[in-house]
């Protein structure tokens, strides 16, 4: 009897590994020239919630000469059974081993999923390091936000895609196909790929370090390989292929609903936010496109909920008219609209009211910092007044639970800023009582994460606050946020520490990852699997001090390990933003018409696009 059928009854949630979902594409293996598999380095329910996978799956499977299948990280119970039975990591469509494919494509969404990539390569029977993989192994490629500092993963990935994958993937597949037809060696195919704009092939670059161990330079080692790799960006966002026939999981995904991307990019300019920098410029989808794609999604998926996704959906110019049109057209069939995140302002509550006519769950606002001074430092353009108005409106409109997101350890933070978090939480709670929410139902949840400096942001030169200091601040908050109706959650500071080391890491961290993998690290984004003890041991074995990466500040003139990756936003602008942060000066959103001069539009020959602006 089939090995997989023997194993599946023994594991938790076997539907994760069974495939057969609606809209899954099964192509003829023998008749399709290039076989690719998209690999999400987390469990099925998380990976199936990722729109980027559906976008690439649609594009590749639309080509007659290529196919794309899917694979997710097997939960440890499944991985154990697979090892016991000698079953190698397989793709969900054909159930074929991942190592039989030509291209294995990972997405790098989060530093703490790096260990799962090594774990998956190993389960697939593929050597971890790029240099160990001979011709018979797939090309291992990777993209996504963490590719903007690719160095910690450079030992394991053959080809990185920098920027928006849908823009590059077809060119890359063409080059690989052409190379294979010419019987080129893998190394030569990689060289050809390196000539495509937005492609970074780490094996073709050499890294130099100073005598004191600091990073010095990264240089191409072959002719025609660019010294700097500039991100790719979709110019016609409205016209770019959108997956209106996404794979519909039968078992529950984290985001188990239709997703319609209404805009890409965010120009609010929060200084800690990497997404706000690397996804520039803002490009909005025309309302008629959104409505047309929504109608197709409804017909093709059978979901009863649609989410208008983006980094900041309340900024979408025609958001109100689009929500109303969707509700008018589809609510008769019991379809709800949901918004992924809301700004803390009155308009956002109006939007929430529009979409949540029936379900009254909680509303989430992200003031990020406890005082106006610190919010100005991070350029979070929200005032206390905005927040109170939004929370007040929410309570009056019938919500009784509000979540507030904050960060601790931000640059320039003082005790006063921590006090501010406590004070804001209490004021929102008091507002709830004043607006007649009963004591029993009123709930204000304060969720506190630790600041992690990220590459390509204005805070990339900033150190992460020492681990002990973050823990002390967490303790301080938990001793103060104790009122009835207030709940405090905070993220593990140890996890943020490891994340920070990798977020600004260099190529030497590859050794740490191998050690961590060998020690058994995987699913590190999951608190039940993350072990700081194992990670510290991995760093020790590799002879590398994580504090040197996480808690270190850089000078503007210091070369940075990600300087060869160009997000389009100029370094001069980031320096300016960092200086303005220190002085507490806010920078306006370029949406307002004032260009703050980030340099991206001229560099990438592109402009922001706002729906309705052509009229």
């Amino acid at each position: 009897m089939d090995l997989l059928q023997q194993i599946l009854p023994l594991v938790k949630k076997p539907a994760r590994y069974a495939g057969g979902e609606w809209n899954a594409v099964h192509k003829d293996w023998e008749k399709t020239e290039l076989k690719t598999v998209f690999a999400f380095p987390d469990v099925y329910e998380v990976g199936m919630s990722y729109l980027g996978m559906q976008i690439l799956y649609n594009i590749v499977n639309s080509r007659p000469d290529a196919l794309m299948e899917r694979v997710f990280t097997p939960w440890p119970d499944m991985a154990e059974k697979m090892r016991e039975n000698g079953l190698s990591l397989f793709a969900l469509e054909s159930l074929r081993p991942v190592k039989d494919f030509d291209i294995l494509a990972f997405t790098l969404q989060y530093e703490m999923s790096f260990s799962n990539i090594l774990y998956m390569l190993d389960l697939a029977g593929i050597p971890l390091r790029s240099e160990q993989r001979k011709e018979e192994y797939p090309l291992v490629i990777a993209g996504g936000p963490c590719a903007f500092n690719p160095e910690p993963m450079a030992d394991f990935i053959d080809i990185f895609v920098i920027g928006e994958g849908e823009e590059v993937i077809s060119e890359l597949l063409d080059v690989v196909l052409a190379g294979r037809r010419k019987m080129l060696a893998k190394e030569e195919i990689m060289y050809e790929a390196a000539k495509i704009a937005g492609i970074y092939v780490p094996a073709l670059y050499q890294v130099f370090y100073r005598e004191d161990g600091a990073f010095q330079e990264i240089r191409p080692v072959r002719a025609e390989v660019p010294g700097k790799v500039t991100k790719r960006v979709v110019k016609d966002f409205d016209g770019t292929p959108f997956p209106v026939k996404p794979v519909v999981p039968a078992t529950e995904a984290v985001h188990d609903r239709m997703m319609i991307e209404v805009l890409r990019g965010c120009t609010r300019g929060c200084r800690f936010c990497q997404a706000g920098m690397i996804y520039r410029p803002v490009r909005e989808k025309k309302p008629e496109t959104v409505l047309r794609q929504t109608a197709e999604l409804v017909k093709n998926t059978g979901y009863d909920e649609i989410s208008l996704t983006s980094l900041s959906t309340s900024d979408y110019s025609p958001v109100l008219e689009v929500i109303r049109a969707i509700v008018d057209e589809h609510s008769g069939r019991g379809i709800n609209v949901s918004l992924p995140s809301l700004r803390a302002d009155h308009f956002s509550v109006e939007l929430a009211k529009e979409v949540q006519r029936v379900r009254r769950s909680s509303l989430t606002f992200a003031p990020e910092a406890g005082t106006q001074r610190l919010r100005d430092v991070i350029n979070k353009g929200i005032t206390e007044n905005d927040l109170m108005e939004a929370a007040g409106a929410a309570f009056r409109e019938g919500w009784h639970a509000v979540k507030l997101y904050f960060m601790i350890g931000l640059p320039t933070e003082t005790d006063e800023d921590l006090e501010g978090i406590v004070r804001l939480a209490r004021e929102v709670l008091a507002l709830g009582r004043k607006n007649g929410v009963s004591r029993g139902r009123l709930k204000v949840t304060v969720s506190v994460s630790s600041f992690v400096p990220k590459a390509h942001t204005a805070f990339q030169w900033e150190p992460q606050a020492p681990n002990e200091s973050l823990k002390r601040k967490q303790d301080d908050l938990s001793s103060k946020i104790r009122d009835r109706g207030l709940t405090l959650n905070y993220h593990d500071a140890n996890l943020s520490f490891v994340e920070a080391a990798f977020a600004r890491g260099d190529r030497r961290l590859g050794t740490v990852l191998v050690k961590a993998f060998e020690l058994g690290c995987r699913f590190d984004g999951w608190s039940e699997y993350f072990s700081i003890k194992l990670w510290l041991e991995a760093f020790r074995l590799a002879g590398i001090d994580p504090k040197w990466y996480a808690n270190r500040g850089y000078n503007y003139e210091d070369p940075l390990p990600w300087d060869h990756i160009d997000s389009g936003v100029s370094k001069q602008y980031l320096i300016l933003e960092h200086k303005r942060a220190k002085e507490g000066i806010v920078t306006v959103d370029c949406r307002t018409g004032f260009c703050p001069g980030c340099g991206l539009c001229p560099a990438l020959e592109i402009e922001p696009y706002y729906a309705g602006s052509e009229n």
Binding site: M1, Q5, Q6, L8, P9, L10, K13, P14, A15, Y17, A18, G19, G20, E21, W22, A24, V248, A250, T251, E252, D256, V298, K299, N300, T301, G302, Y303, D304, R333, G334, V358, R359
Partner: protein
Amino acid sequence: MPRYRVMYAKEGPARYLSHLDLIRTFDRAARRAGLPVAFSQGFNPHPKLFFAAPLAVGTIGDAEFADMELTGDVPAGIVAKALSDAMPEGLRLIEIRLVPDNLPALMAVVDRAAYSARAVLDDSLERETLEKAAADFLAMPEILVERRSKTGEKRMFDIKPGIFAMSAWINNDIIVLLAELKTGSSGNIRFEELIAAFMKCSGLRVRGNFEMRRKALYPNGKKDQEMLW
């Protein structure tokens, strides 16, 4: 509101869907099919889909039953075609009938289920030995299995009164078990429980696991093995 009774198979990848997954999948398939599924009233409306009896995850269902209410009359043939085309791999529609809306709920009438299981035997075995093992097993005054209460406490439970029939045979190295068990809200015997108890009692060993299959669901009182129509 018109009520439709659906007979379907749950096989292939769909056999790994949980009961909740199955409800979700039927709802989505009905939406894709453009069928006007009725919704319950109340704070959190849910589609009016009612399944006869939950099937253990991983067990194949040859002839499962569900009722579905629509808000308007649609000929059963059209419902069948539309729903069939909208089902994911492994959920195969066998038949749909319009049924009177005063018919008792499926869950209330289902009483028994027929099962089969097969696995590869570890050692060779004579047919007579196996038959004797089955007879000895059924001859025991009680067949105790361990169950957990809702609070997590372990207790022993006698499944014998719920075993209506059981037999075993072999074909080369494949062992096949057949059983008819009490199913439904007035008492439920899980096929895995019976298999585990039998294997323990007989001392037989198989390689890997049994592939289990629910072959039919029967209502109470009917001697003639009529299905749930």
